[in-house]
């Protein structure tokens, strides 16, 4: 393992066996991760970007020692996730979005104290850290509130404090802002940035399907789809890969209920590289990646011929969403776990 690598993943596969409703039926094999290879440097904030069901959480759970890989090797802080899980657990922490952990009858500070003690913190240190982190996250006035009485956003802030209270070497954040309102999500992101700035030797792995979040926070991003890593680079380099192409966002009258067929038809138009469509509030949003601007006229002509009028048109600088569409051929909002079923 390289000295500067906090995480090394080599040829990791994870296959689940899923049984049908009949008990005696043979289990079906579902591939959650296929030949995954990754290096995360020490001090890096690394993003795993992909739609629901892409395999992000499975990878995080393997690195956090909750799951074993079906094959391959994964090292965290130099320790093997299969054989040296105890050493890894002393160095890591994990926070998931939408967590309902903790005990509702205990107060915020009691729950945090309990988890701090499980990480071996002595009473004094635990209380000092709880005090300072409650203030930092704006939860000081809720310290004696039972967590059953907290809103989703406040509870997630408490989960964040829980995850960072042991001052871990490697932190895994699995969709940390899932379900949070704009303000709470902003607070969480600010906390993450500050924590990483203050501790250059710590490493963080963040899974998200929010493009802006990944773009704002991450030093490098791996795009994962259907269990495979399809690209891994800095956000800037990923976006630069689209500079040669032109990206347009169109709103058109509804195209119909078969998005994949619609996308294939548009992709057949000369000069079109990739298309993604999403039905939103009675209209269809189309992301177009074109070889040149001239191809746009052909697309609009095609849409009008199909009776779908153009409602609005916008030329954009490539975003991570566009990178994803270019590489995968569909939008991040599509849930691949459902397509697989």
């Amino acid at each position: 393992m390289r000295d500067d690598a906090a995480i090394v993943v080599q040829d990791v596969n994870r296959i689940y066996k899923v049984r049908g409703p009949k008990r005696r039926s043979d289990p079906q094999e579902v591939t959650a991760l296929a030949d995954v290879n990754l290096d995360v440097k020490r001090g890096e904030l690394f993003g795993l970007l992909g739609p629901n069901g892409a395999g992000k959480t499975t990878l995080i759970k393997i690195l956090a020692t909750l799951l074993l890989p079906s094959s391959g090797t994964a090292l965290v802080d130099g320790f093997d996730v299969v054989k040296e899980q105890k050493a890894i657990r002393r160095r890591i922490s994990m926070v998931s979005g939408g967590e309902t952990s903790g005990y509702g009858l205990l107060t915020v500070e009691e729950n945090l104290w309990m988890f701090a003690r499980l990480y071996g913190l002595d009473n004094k240190t635990a209380k000092e850290r709880i005090d300072s982190m409650l203030k930092l996250m704006g939860l000081a006035d809720r310290r004696r509130t039972k967590i059953a009485d907290l809103s989703t956003g406040l509870r997630q802030k408490m989960n964040f404090i829980r995850g960072f209270i042991s001052d871990p070497s490697v932190v895994f954040l699995d969709e940390p802002t899932l379900g949070l309102d704009v303000g709470a999500a902003r607070d969480v992101r600010a906390f993450v940035e500050e924590w990483m700035d203050d501790r250059p030797d710590r490493t963080m792995v963040l899974t998200t399907h929010y493009m802006a979040e990944a773009d704002e926070l991450c030093d490098r991003i791996a795009i994962i789809d259907r269990g495979r890593i399809i690209a891994c680079d800095t956000p800037e380099n990923l976006k630069r890969s689209l500079k040669e192409e032109t990206v347009f966002h169109l709103k058109v009258a509804p195209l119909g209920k078969r998005p994949e067929a619609n996308e294939h038809r548009i992709e057949a138009v000369h000069g079109v590289r990739r298309v993604s469509t999403t039905e939103v509030n009675g209209h269809t949003e189309v992301t177009l990646i074109l070889e040149t601007e001239e191809a746009l006229a052909g697309v609009i002509g095609h849409l009008e011929a199909r009776g779908s009028n153009l409602l609005s048109l916008e030329k954009q600088e490539p975003s991570l969403e566009d990178v994803f569409v270019r590489m995968v051929g569909r939008s991040l909002s599509v849930d691949t776990s459902q397509r697989d079923e």
């Binding site: 074993l68 657990r89 002393r90 952990s101 005990y103 499980l118 990480y119 042991s166 871990p168």
Partner: protein
């Protein structure tokens, strides 16, 4: 940041026990209605047996048998529902994931659950004994109090060793284990002789039932609390105490092995992270 030396040691083990016991003890104290119903309902069950024995004019020492059995029922239920099943709820709430990811040893977590439950259950058992003893003037004639205390401690050790074993099963399964706990409740009331001397079941059945620590523990405690119980005993107290020590060692060592094995299986099959209520 956390260091290896600190994490490996007894300190972390003891800290983890107290940390996990804390929500059991203080959570219960904050939900007074639970405390009331957890005490009142078993009290009603015990009272009903007392009145049955009174109605059929059974020997008076049977009343004492029922009161002690009623109090010990609380410990059985605590072990079955509040320890093994708690792990199922912890899994469902996402706490189990966090326990596994933390450096806290799982046996310490389970021990914390057991001790937390034991504190609450002792309050409940004491209430049953005090109320029933006052109401029915139970004629206690205690022999050796030291021996009585030893029997109680060893019975609890064996019982919670058995609880850890159940909990490890819950770690790798889930709803199936939940159903198993349901299935176990009533047959064990019968097999352990909660409300009658286990000798009434016949020697071989009582021998088979002795796999349950409460069967031997109850029989021994009754002998030590009531002078006439010797005529209704299953085995002498010293033999029962020896068997309970053996049970404690067997259950705890099996539970430790099972915990390690089933955690590994849980990681392999993804059962530590599933939530399927």
């Amino acid at each position: 940041m956390y260091t290896d030396n600190r994490a490996q040691g007894l300190t972390l083990f003891w800290q983890s026990i107290w940390a996990r016991a804390y929500p059991r003890i203080f959570g219960m104290l904050r939900e007074r209605s639970w405390m009331f119903f957890d005490t009142f309902l078993p009290l009603l069950g015990t009272l009903s047996y007392v009145f049955v024995y009174r109605a059929i004019q059974a020997p008076e020492e049977y009343i004492g048998f029922v009161v002690v059995g009623g109090a010990m029922t609380a410990f059985w239920l605590n072990m079955l529902w509040s320890m093994a099943s708690q792990l199922y709820w912890d899994k469902d709430m996402g706490n189990l994931e966090l326990y596994v990811v933390s450096p806290a040893p799982l046996p310490a977590i389970l021990l914390g659950m057991a001790i937390g439950g034991l504190v609450n259950t002792t309050m409940r058992a004491t209430a049953i004994i005090v109320v029933c003893s006052l109401l029915f003037a139970v004629p206690y004639e205690p022999g050796s109090l030291i021996l009585l205390l030893m029997v109680f401690i060893v019975t609890m050790t064996a019982l919670y060793g058995m609880g850890m074993l159940f909990a490890s099963v819950f770690l790798a399964s889930g709803r199936e284990a939940w159903h198993m706990a349901n299935l176990l409740q009533e047959p064990i009331y019968l097999a352990s002789g909660f409300f009658f001397p286990v000798r009434a079941l016949g020697f071989w059945f009582a021998t088979f039932a002795s796999i349950l620590p409460l069967t031997l523990g109850l029989d021994a405690m009754r002998q030590l609390l009531f002078a006439d119980a010797v005529t209704l005993r299953f085995l002498p107290v010293e033999v029962e105490l020896g068997l309970l020590v053996v049970s404690s060692v067997v259950f705890i060592s099996t539970a430790m092995l099972a915990l390690a094995k089933l955690e590994e299986r849980g990681r392999r099959e993804g059962r530590l992270i599933e939530r399927r209520r």
